[in-house]
Symmetry: C2
Subunit: 750 residues, 2 copies
Amino acid sequence: MKRICFLAAFLLTATTMMAQTTKKSFTLNDLLSGGSTFWNLQPQYMFTTWWGEVPVELTVDEAKVVREKEEVKGEKLNVLFTTERLNEIVGETVVRTCTYLQFPYVDEPVVKVQTPKEIILIDFEKATVVWRGQIAEGATELVWNARSRAMAYCIGSNVFVQTADGERRQLTTDGSDAIVYGHSVSRDEFGIMGGLFWSPDGQRLAFYKKDQSRIPSYPQVDITQRIAATTVDKYPMAGCETEDVSVAVYDVRTKQTVWLQNPKPMTDYMTNISWAPDAQKIYVFELNRDQNFMQLYGYDAVTGQKDTEPLVEEKHPKYVEPMHTMTFLPWDATKAVMQTRRDNWNHLYLIDLTKKMYPEWRNEDGGGTSCDHVKVTLLTPGDFEIRDFLGFNQKEKTALFIGNVTHPLHHTVHAVRVKGERVKSEKLRLISVGEGVHSATLSANGSQMIDTYSSPSVTRQVSLIDVKTGKASSLLTADDPWKDYDVPEITGGSIKAADGETDLYYRLIKPVGFDATKKYPTVVYVYGGPHAHNVQASRGYYFRGWEIYMAQLGYVVFVLDNRGSQYRGLKFEQATFRHLGDEEMRDQMCGVEFLKTLPYVDADRMGVHGWSFGGFMTTNLMCTYPDVFKVGVAGGPVVDWKYYEVMYGERYMDRPDENPEGYASSSLLPKAKNLKGRLQIIFGYNDPTCVPQHTLSFIRACIDAGRQPDLFTYPGDGHNMFGTDQVHLHERITRYFEDYLKSEKPMTEK
Amino acid sequence: MKRICFLAAFLLTATTMMAQTTKKSFTLNDLLSGGSTFWNLQPQYMFTTWWGEVPVELTVDEAKVVREKEEVKGEKLNVLFTTERLNEIVGETVVRTCTYLQFPYVDEPVVKVQTPKEIILIDFEKATVVWRGQIAEGATELVWNARSRAMAYCIGSNVFVQTADGERRQLTTDGSDAIVYGHSVSRDEFGIMGGLFWSPDGQRLAFYKKDQSRIPSYPQVDITQRIAATTVDKYPMAGCETEDVSVAVYDVRTKQTVWLQNPKPMTDYMTNISWAPDAQKIYVFELNRDQNFMQLYGYDAVTGQKDTEPLVEEKHPKYVEPMHTMTFLPWDATKAVMQTRRDNWNHLYLIDLTKKMYPEWRNEDGGGTSCDHVKVTLLTPGDFEIRDFLGFNQKEKTALFIGNVTHPLHHTVHAVRVKGERVKSEKLRLISVGEGVHSATLSANGSQMIDTYSSPSVTRQVSLIDVKTGKASSLLTADDPWKDYDVPEITGGSIKAADGETDLYYRLIKPVGFDATKKYPTVVYVYGGPHAHNVQASRGYYFRGWEIYMAQLGYVVFVLDNRGSQYRGLKFEQATFRHLGDEEMRDQMCGVEFLKTLPYVDADRMGVHGWSFGGFMTTNLMCTYPDVFKVGVAGGPVVDWKYYEVMYGERYMDRPDENPEGYASSSLLPKAKNLKGRLQIIFGYNDPTCVPQHTLSFIRACIDAGRQPDLFTYPGDGHNMFGTDQVHLHERITRYFEDYLKSEKPMTEK
């Protein structure tokens, strides 16, 4: 449900925000990523990339080396090329901005330009075009391999390969709405993001086949046609027929395709495909439909033969969820790292393919069991989760990652030695500088890093860091872009969960012009589902722009990450298993109890808003605690998990026939009758994620129960609204609270 | 668009309603036909039917003759049978109420009982079952002929006949979603109400074939399926592909089917099928797709051969609209009556099939031309419209009809001599007694009539009337069922239309507890389209229950029948031709100007509500006069006539390619940007009449223009809501005015 994470994807990060007066006010256009003035008010940003070991800053006009010493000289020596120069070399305008350019070869002065029509390699030292490859018309899913310069792509549902010399070959012919080749499978769950996988040498292409012929098409209606018409949207609902996934390998040299020999019903999900460095083998994390038994298997890439035994197996009474590919060590093709949460936390493990183990099932701290057939060693012990595996420092033989090692809300960069022995957590070396939330990219051999972070007190800091020495050079320290504005006070903190033990983190935003003697209407914003979090120690504690707007209108806004949400470990997430909503709401009600202790919170004027899983939570809270929440706005909600998809839904809820009580008790349909406050439900009319059947079924249940929710839909929009629709949506959400929650005595249903 | 007439079909009629105090208040359940207590508060009603010349009152328990003299005797002689007795005769419970029974034979003591499984003829004097006919499982469209006792019916899209002896025969085999036999065609326009037509002797069956294979199916989504799915709903949109209609005749004796030989593109609509008394011929009113050229043609029922020339032809630069079948005179099979508006008013004409005329086109007062090939004589001259043709008095040789002869708002029963000469209007003899709105049924030979009427001062009066003498015997004088309730004052009146000449009639309802010194929020209820009217001189001036509710909540309610609406003649209706909405709104604004002259109307708090065409009007008024109407609720609106159906839409608008300016200027999509007040649009999620594309396109246009209408939908409902949904809907409509119009300063959009 990664596409369900909330609307506005903020690229921004931090600055201190304290209540101020007699300054400018924000419009929604200022605060939402779809707003017309949003980018004017964002912290300065820096586009960077790596050319081998050379850090490069990319601007619209040029690409320049960001070595600090050369900046000091004040000379233009550090400019690699300009946009204008690239177009001169090619002899036509092929690039309008350098911002997104890449350097595909570590040692060669070559930049890759990709237009809708072709890929061009330009030697910017010799000022020549090294290579051009035409992109076939209608090509999608394009994946280019830098070594062979071959392209793989799809046209419609079929796969094509074009070699460096321009020769095109169609690999599949029976692609259709039902049979789809080369695209992502399993609805992008399990970390799957595409369906074409080049071997490192670019001579072999693995690709997915998805047979969804047994899946009915959910009737999505396109009203922009002269006469409205449905579009094909194969949607596998929990417990219903689902897709068959298989994997083929095409060999560019032999022009032969072989299929990985993995007959159903051995596995239902084939995820996180990776290549051995020598391109002789493919590794696949395989999972049964119940999602409680995972095996990591190797396949012979030439014959398609499956290994006789897996490398690793894991079981869990709730679920296992492989999310990451194996990654081989650059200096040792017999070893690789993988990520699992078998010890509760998402950690890096070293797999030594040469050291066979006697397979035996062992209990793990995550509550499941594992059975390793080769030696597997935990690299990153500790009560934290790895958010991003960044890669390796090849000189030091370390792995670098971002994780919340120092505090659950801080995401910092660390290095760990990659040895075949279990390492002590003290051996995790902090590389990044500054508390907060970091992101980073490594140079080709991992000896340098460009690190970007923000925190509640740092708007944005970009630094070049030497991984070995930890020496950091500042590249950018962003100013507060809101210094002329009336900004509300944002604080972070924690409370105990409903289990009485677990720490939950919140963000609290006070109204602009806060007066401690007043009582304010208060809105809880909620998501609450897995794979997402709303609170972290980045700028403004990861605020959403709409919250600033609401604070400006005189609301307290409160956001709490309940159990079930992201980066707090497997048990924290799995507390909700088979009864989604229950523990999440219990935790949110702990947040409400906390709010009631605040003298400026008007407990008689509490509202709630959320989208997707948060729409489920919002509707659920309105119906479960009708005397607490007077006004709610629920967006694209799940209403009954039986209408949600197989892959995500069955992971957390099992199948309806296996968990009838859980499906019944988590359904909002029987709760419709409890609705008392004002609830507006908003959905994308063409939502392919939480299909309209959710909202419409709830509306029907409300009508039958004599309740009066409000409703709105965005025709043509999917699960989220973007651009001007996003602004329109938030005007709408805001107006609803203004209409019904703002006055001293909120309007309720009757 | 007859299915678009407003929600509540009130069977009720009249009583005086004056403002009263300290009495009971109504709930919506009391006032709406779908309400749980509605029928408790309706005027007494009387179910009657005719057994030849014997008037029969039908109750749950019995059928009794309503001759007054026998009532006076106080004896039970007048009871024909009881429900219990019928079940005793049959030996099983086949009837639970006598209310809907029929006497199919004038001279025989036989009553017809129809259950879901069979038709039973019972001789209630001999106490025997005369005949039983099983009804085939799944049969729909059932039509039974009393003379032959044959049944015609459909199963799915195919036609079947079952003769009196029970033998069944399937007449068509290729029926499907696309090819439909035996059902109504042309979307029930042109007075078409079914697709099976028995000849008088029950030996021949004419039936429609509708080939709609070229029409796309509008994607209606059924969310009650496990996975939502579309249902087939062939919907021909204006200017697009439409259906082919043809007519077949099956002969029960020969078991042969012949097709009426009428090749396309001669005619597009074959309407108002009627049989000659001897069953040798069939008559069809045929109309071109442009609906401006009508011909009445006879066909040989044995060969299917079309007559070489028509009986009657009519053309009109706007449109002609045949709505009624020919009806032969019972005493002369060479003559028939038909109805047309060729002289502006819907009148009865006598056709003499024996008197050939030299065909020449003549100008008519309705603005069109006619060409009669046989002698055609106007029977009912005058500036009024015939609403219902009741039949003939065979003794007097008169035709009886209901028409607004005496006043546009009064519908009274009149008789006219049927002779082949044009009659003077003085010759129209008033039969009914009492001013108001009458309905009536004639005895078999037309010498008696049961008349029911109401007026603003008469709740309901049922009388038995001798047609010749005019002698009336009262059968029922209903009490005021609301005498214990606080009832608002309802008045009727007229203003001038925007053309400065035409009288328009209104109904005005003052708030309960009216105080002339106060200013009240005021809601205009509007329909405004053809084929419907909202004001007539029946009980409460034809009030709708919701208006009483609104008056009770302190609103003034105003209803005006603008030009374009029903029973005011062709020119009145055709004022709107090719630019629907314009004149209608101009007239409604005359109503607003009138309201502004009333000191108790708060012109700053005016709202508007309407459904279907009235939803079009409401949305249009909100966008066209954004400073006049602050709050609107539009139901199931037409938004752009290009999304409406061929039959109704092209009549009033022509095709989009013929009238691009009219379609463009009447579309509400470009007007969305003008929306300023609060507008809620409500639609049945499965509306097959004004398909959801209307509302959703308008919502999209509003979003794109940055406007914020509100929205609601009733999943599973069609164009109108019934039962508890109707009550829910009106709670919703009411709440919207209460939320936004009630307060002294109405909330507007921003």
